[in-house]
């Protein structure tokens, strides 16, 4: 055991002496590993960044909401099974709330009807297309995650009366009223004048596809007057976020009763939660991560081949030294360790340099483009170092093994 320790320290000494003696060669070889580690690490930060971005996006959804809809979220291939479902009517929201009021122990908290579509908003010569337009009740203000920057959400009275008032998102306000406050001003939606009564605080976008900040909310009564949508709508139910599964069961039972489904009938509605979308995104995210890591892993692999090559050269150059060491009593293990440690040392140095570079690049990107999701973490440093050590073992093993197996007689004669 003690002997192994002395051999290890000797091997380390030789390895670093060797790197010092062949500075240029070691640096060039390490460059391959550096590039590989930078590529893999940046990919890692990007993957972590996607995760963080998804989290940030989903925050806008609210993680304690259940969505009762006619169509289930996500991809459906058997659309004919859903198209004949009865509409989800907005009255359900009122009925659910009544039920909540009479059942104090329930996991359900508050139900809000919501109808949505994308419309065009005009103010003077400003025109915004494809704005998410929401028709809902005053209760919406209680379940939404967004704060109010100025003004207020519409009141119960306005909601029921169906007045032409609207609450607009941050970007809408910014685009239509670049220089002044939108409060009390008039905008046109569907050729009708709406008075702006409130502006939401900035909230961010959903996966960069859809911004919560480009929205307009109006009373559902008003919405239904101008968009002839019939009964169809969705119900958003705020529940006890710590008991999601229970709440889902409870809501399902309640909806079946409201829709008077017999025990033999299947559900003719869907209950969705943000987890559903997450599950849909996971395979995409994993696919991107896997492909990215594979491609960047190739760079590391090329680096590893460089190390293997240089270790073979090193073994060849020092064949006579290997013979001498064997004559002086070095075991096969000693020689194996010596060259393995040399390869690992170059990889480790390359790994440290690569991680430093990656950390630098990440912070530069963070300064230049703060919205670009890159997350550099301690776990990434640990993984990076472990990966570089394993790269060294992987690439150093074959040459080190061939060195350890050299016949001392042949090695001593080698010139």
């Amino acid at each position: 055991m003690r002997r192994l320790y002395y051999e290890l320290t000797e091997s380390l000494r030789i390895a670093f002496a060797q790197i010092r003696a062949n500075k240029l060669r070691s640096a060039l070889t390490a460059l391959g590993v550096i590039i590989g580690i930078v590529a893999v690490t940046l990919m890692g930060t990007a993957i972590k960044g996607i995760d963080a971005g998804v989290d940030r996006s989903f925050a806008g959804f609210g993680d304690d909401l259940l969505y009762v809809t006619k169509w289930p979220w996500g991809n459906i291939e058997d659309w004919w099974n859903y198209r004949n479902r009865r509409p989800v009517r907005h009255e359900y929201a009122r009925q659910i709330n009544e039920w909540i009021a009479t059942n104090p122990g329930t996991t359900l908290k508050l139900a809000v009807p919501a109808a949505e579509r994308f419309t065009t908003i005009i103010r003077g010569e400003y025109r915004l297309n494809n704005i998410y337009t929401l028709g809902t009740t005053a209760d919406y203000a209680r379940i939404t995650r967004s704060d109010i920057r100025e003004g207020r959400f519409f009141s119960d009275f306005e909601g029921q009366a169906g007045t032409n008032v609207c609450f607009i998102g941050f970007d809408v306000a910014d685009a239509l009223f670049p220089n002044d406050s939108p409060l009390g001003k008039t905008i046109r939606i569907k050729d009708q004048n709406f008075s702006v009564i409130g502006v939401a605080a900035k909230q961010g976008s959903f996966l960069g596809l859809f911004s919560w900040d480009s929205m307009v909310a109006m009373p559902l009564t008003t919405y239904r007057r101008y968009y002839r949508v019939g009964e169809d709508c969705e119900i958003r139910v705020q529940v006890d976020g710590t008991r999601m599964a229970e709440a889902k069961d409870e809501l399902q039972g309640l909806m079946r009763r409201l829709r008077m489904l017999g025990p033999e009938k299947r559900d003719d509605f869907s209950i969705n939660e943000q987890g559903t979308i997450r599950e849909q995104l996971d395979p995409i995210k994993n696919g991107v991560a896997l492909a990215g890591l594979f491609i960047t892993g190739l760079a590391l692999f090329v680096g590893a081949i460089g190390i293997m090559n240089i270790t073979y050269v090193s073994v060849k150059e020092r064949t006579k030294e290997i013979g001498t060491r064997k004559a002086l009593g070095a075991r096969r293990r000693t020689i194996l360790l010596q060259f393995l440690i040399e390869a690992v040392a170059i990889c480790f140095v390359g790994g440290v340099a690569g991680l430093t570079l990656a950390a630098g690049l990440t912070s530069v990107v963070g300064v230049i483009a703060p919205s670009f999701p890159l997350v550099f973490s301690t776990s990434l440093v640990v993984i990076g170092l472990v990966v570089s050590v394993f790269t060294g073992i992987f690439s150093g093993f074959a040459p080190a093994w061939s060195a350890s197996k050299l016949d001392p007689v042949v090695a001593l004669r080698y010139e």
Partner: protein, 243 residues
Amino acid sequence: MTASSAPAAARSVRPPGQLVIQIDGVTKLYQMGEETIHALRGVALTIRRNEYLAIMGPSGSGKSTLMNMLGCLDTPTAGHYDFNGKNVASMVDDELADIRNREIGFVFQTFNLLPRSNALHNVELPLIYAGLSRSERLQRAAQALTDVGLGDRMHHRPNELSGGQRQRVAIARALVTRPSIILADEPTGNLDSKTGVEIMDLFEHLYELGNTLIVVTHEEDVARHARRIVRLRDGLIESDQTV
């Protein structure tokens, strides 16, 4: 004392001690392509402690093969080889490495020092493989270098030393493990004649201190220093005489 000033009669002969090496019927075959080469064809030899032996022979006589065999760098194709009573012929690589480390001190024609390490570290090296602590290693390595007259050159690298000094470092490295035998392969082959004489004087001194020396050479001048000369020809011992 130099070689020329030392008449054979005036040299001390130490009484041989216990048996160190006993080989019997050793053969070694090499396969060179289609051809099989009989490097050794049945060699028997006993070497005792405190002997000073020269192995001579023209090239191709098998003396290098015999030296590799004696040095436990190689194992015989057939025959017996006992080293201090242990059967070497059947040992595996790592056991041979341990025998080389503990029992044999090598001195090479080309010195074979590590170029980037100083004299002290070169001498220390076999002690690392022996598993000695750093303080003991350094103390013994320094002592060995002092013994060969290089006490003031310990921190010089090989390229800062003369040929004779390099060979002295190599001899110190061979001595430092206190081996049973010191095996020198043409120790003066890469040195000028004056330095060669100095090295042979050092060997004489080591012999008088009680070391067992085996020198492989093709030079009569070198062999003359030994107390016993074994001559090989065509893989067989031609003569074995005490001088």
